[in-house]
C-alpha cells in the first residue's frame, strides 16, 4: 500500500533519512519505532506529502506523492486520516464541530446526516457525551480520542498516528491501543503508528520497523525484530532501553575538555 524507495531527506546539515526502504502492507498495523529525533514525524509528513524527499520515491497506492499535482495530492489526503501528536483540534470549535469539519469541507451531506455521523464517530471513541465541549475542557487522553474521531470522519483507508501514546496515563494508553487495533480490523484500514513506546506498540503490531541514525535497523513481525537484535547492537540497545550503546556513542566522541578549551583533550 505504502512504499518508500531509497528515500533521502535532510534538514539543513542534519541527515534525517539516508536512503531508507520501507514497506507498509494493506490492512496491517505497522509500528515505526525509533529514538526521539530520528525523523519519525518526518516519515508521516513524507507520506502525507507535506515535505518532499531530496531523492528517492514515496509511493502511496501507486501514486508518487512528491510528484502528484495539487488536486491528486488533495484527493489522496482525503483517503488518509492523521492523528497529530497533540490532537491539533480546532480550538474555536466544539468537539462535535471538529468531527463535522472534514465532512462539511468535503461533502454536501445535510446537517441531520452530519449530526448522525458525528455521534457515531464519537461513540466509537467513547466521547459522545463530550460533543458540546471545547477542546480546552478536555483531558489529554480525551483530546486525542476526539482527534481520532475527527481523523476517522471521512472513513479513510489509511490512518497515520503520530506519537499517540506520548504523555498518556496507563489507562488511556490502553484504551488507545485497543482502539487503534480494533478500528484497523473492523474497518480494514492500513495503519502506521509512530512511537517510541516499545512494549505497548509491539503488542498491537503486525509489523515493526525500527529506525535510528537515518536508516532502518530492524523490520519484520515483532518476533522477527526481537530475533534480529543479535546482529544489530543498536537495535538491542533500543529494545532494552540501555543507557550505553551505539545509539548515543556519538555524544561521547569528543572529550569534554576540548569543549571547555583545556587543550589537554586529544
Amino acid at each position: 500500500m505504502i512504499e518508500l524507495d531509497g528515500v533521502h531527506f535532510s534538514r539543513g546539515a542534519q541527515v534525517i533519512f539516508d536512503g531508507v526502504d520501507m514497506h507498509f502492507g494493506r490492512g496491517e498495523v505497522t509500528v515505526v519505532l525509533g529514538p526521539s529525533g530520528t525523523g519519525k514525524t518526518t516519515l508521516l509528513r513524507l507520506i502525507g506529502g507535506q515535505v518532499r524527499p531530496a531523492s528517492g520515491r514515496v509511493m502511496v497506492d501507486g501514486i508518487e506523492v512528491a510528484r502528484a499535482r495539487r488536486k491528486a495530492l488533495y484527493a489522496l489526503r482525503r483517503r488518509m486520516g492523521v492523528l497529530f501528536q497533540n490532537g491539533a483540534l480546532f480550538t474555536d470549535l466544539t468537539v462535535g464541530e471538529n468531527v463535522a469539519f472534514p465532512l462539511r469541507a468535503h461533502s454536501r451531506l445535510d446537517e441531520a446526516l452530519i449530526r448522525r455521523i458525528v455521534l457515531f464517530k464519537l461513540e466509537a471513541v467513547g466521547l459522545r457525551s463530550a460533543r458540546d465541549k471545547y477542546p480546552a475542557a478536555l483531558s489529554g487522553g480525551m483530546a486525542r480520542r476526539a482527534a481520532l474521531a475527527r481523523a476517522m470522519a471521512l472513513d479513510p483507508e489509511i490512518m497515520l498516528y503520530d506519537e499517540p501514546f506520548a504523555g498518556q496515563d496507563p489507562v488511556s494508553m490502553g484504551v488507545l491501543l485497543r482502539l487503534i487495533r480494533r478500528l484497523n480490523d473492523a474497518l480494514g484500514l492500513t495503519s502506521i503508528v509512530v512511537t517510541h513506546d516499545v512494549k505497548e506498540a509491539m503488542s498491537i503490531a503486525d509489523r515493526v520497523i525500527v529506525i535510528a541514525g537515518g536508516r532502518v535497523i530492524g523490520q519484520g513481525t515483532p518476533e522477527e525484530v526481537r530475533a534480529q537484535r543479535e546482529q544489530e547492537p543498536a537495535l538491542a540497545q533500543f529494545l532494552d532501553g540501555a543507557a550505553d550503546g551505539p545509539l548515543n556513542a556519538a555524544e561521547d566522541e569528543s572529550p569534554l575538555s576540548a569543549d571547555l578549551g583545556l587543550g589537554g583533550g586529544q
Binding site: G48, R78, V82, F84, N86, T91, A105, H106
Partner: protein, 262 residues
C-alpha cells in the same frame, strides 16, 4: 578598526535580513493573491472575520475618534480665532480628519488592536499543528484561514477610518459650536462648501484602503511564518504592530505627496 569592521558587517547583515524578509513577504503575497478570489466561495468565513477584526474594534475607534475631534476643535479654535476665522473651524477639523488623521490613526489603532490578534491567532494555529491538520484534511489553509482574515482586515480598515472621521467631526462640533460658541451654520456650511468629494473624501478612502491591505498582509504573513514557539509568537505579534505602524506612516507620506503635493 576591528570594531568598525564589525559594525559594517552587522549593518550588512541587517540589510540582508531585511531584504530576505521583504522577499519572502512578496512571495507570500503572490501565493495569497491566487486564493483571494476563491476565498469568496465561502463568504461567511469573510463576514466572520470582518466581525472579529472590525466590529470588535469599533469601541476603541469611536472613542479615539471622539477625543481626536475634541482636541482638533480646541486647538483649531485657538489658532483660527487669532485670525478671526473661527467660522472655518468645521472645514479645518473635517479636512484634517478625512485626509489624514482618520485613515492614519484608525489604521494605527487597528494594527494594535486587530492586526496583532490576527497574527497571534494564526501563529497559535501553526504552533498547535492546526494548520498542518487542515492540510492533511485536504483543506488549503491559505484559502480557509489566511484568505478570510486578509479580506476581513482589508475591508474593516476603510470602514473604521470613515467612522473615526465622522465621530471626530461630531467631536469638533461639540467643542466648537456647543461649548465655544462657533456659529453652527458656518461649521457645517463650510464643510459642505469646501470639501471636495473626490479629492478629499476619495483620497482619504484610497489611503485607508491601501493601509488596510498593508496591515492585513503583514498580519497574516507574520502569523503564518512565525516560529512555532512561545517566543516566536511573541516576536511575530510585536513585528506586526511595529511593521504595520511604520508601513502606514511611510506609505502615508508617499501617498500624500502624490495626492496633495502639487
Amino acid at each position: 578598526m576591528k570594531a568598525l569592521l564589525n559594525a559594517i558587517a552587522r549593518l550588512g547583515r541587517l540589510f540582508l535580513d531585511g531584504a530576505q524578509h521583504a522577499g519572502s513577504m512578496a512571495l507570500f503575497a503572490v501565493e495569497l493573491a491566487w486564493v483571494l478570489i476563491p476565498t469568496w466561495s465561502r463568504p461567511r468565513d469573510i463576514f466572520q472575520q470582518i466581525y472579529a477584526a472590525g466590529v470588535l474594534s469599533l469601541v476603541i475607534i469611536l472613542v479615539a475618534g471622539g477625543f481626536v475631534g475634541l482636541v482638533l476643535g480646541l486647538q483649531g479654535y485657538n489658532i483660527l480665532s487669532n485670525f478671526n476665522a473661527s467660522e472655518s473651524l468645521g472645514v479645518m477639523v473635517a479636512l484634517s480628519l478625512v485626509r489624514e488623521l482618520g485613515p492614519v490613526v484608525a489604521a494605527l489603532l487597528f494594527a494594535g488592536r486587530a492586526g496583532s490578534a490576527i497574527t497571534a491567532e494564526i501563529a497559535l494555529m501553526k504552533t498547535t499543528e492546526q494548520l498542518a491538520a487542515l492540510e492533511m484534511m485536504a483543506v488549503d489553509p491559505m484559502r480557509r484561514v489566511i484568505g478570510p482574515r486578509f479580506w476581513g482586515a482589508m475591508i474593516a480598515v476603510p470602514l473604521l477610518a470613515a467612522m473615526f472621521s465622522l465621530v471626530g467631526i461630531v467631536g469638533g462640533y461639540l467643542i466648537g459650536v456647543v461649548v465655544l460658541g462657533v456659529d453652527q451654520a458656518s461649521y457645517w456650511g463650510q464643510i459642505r462648501e469646501q470639501m471636495e468629494a473626490w479629492d478629499d473624501v476619495g483620497g482619504g478612502a484610497i489611503k485607508s484602503l491601501a493601509f488596510g491591505a498593508v496591515i492585513a498582509l503583514i498580519s497574516v504573513y507574520e502569523g503564518y511564518r512565525a516560529e512555532p514557539t512561545a517566543s516566536g509568537m511573541a516576536r511575530a505579534t510585536t513585528q506586526t504592530v511595529v511593521l504595520s505602524s511604520l508601513a502606514v506612516l511611510g506609505l502615508d507620506f508617499v501617498m500624500t505627496a502624490f495626492m496633495f503635493g502639487a
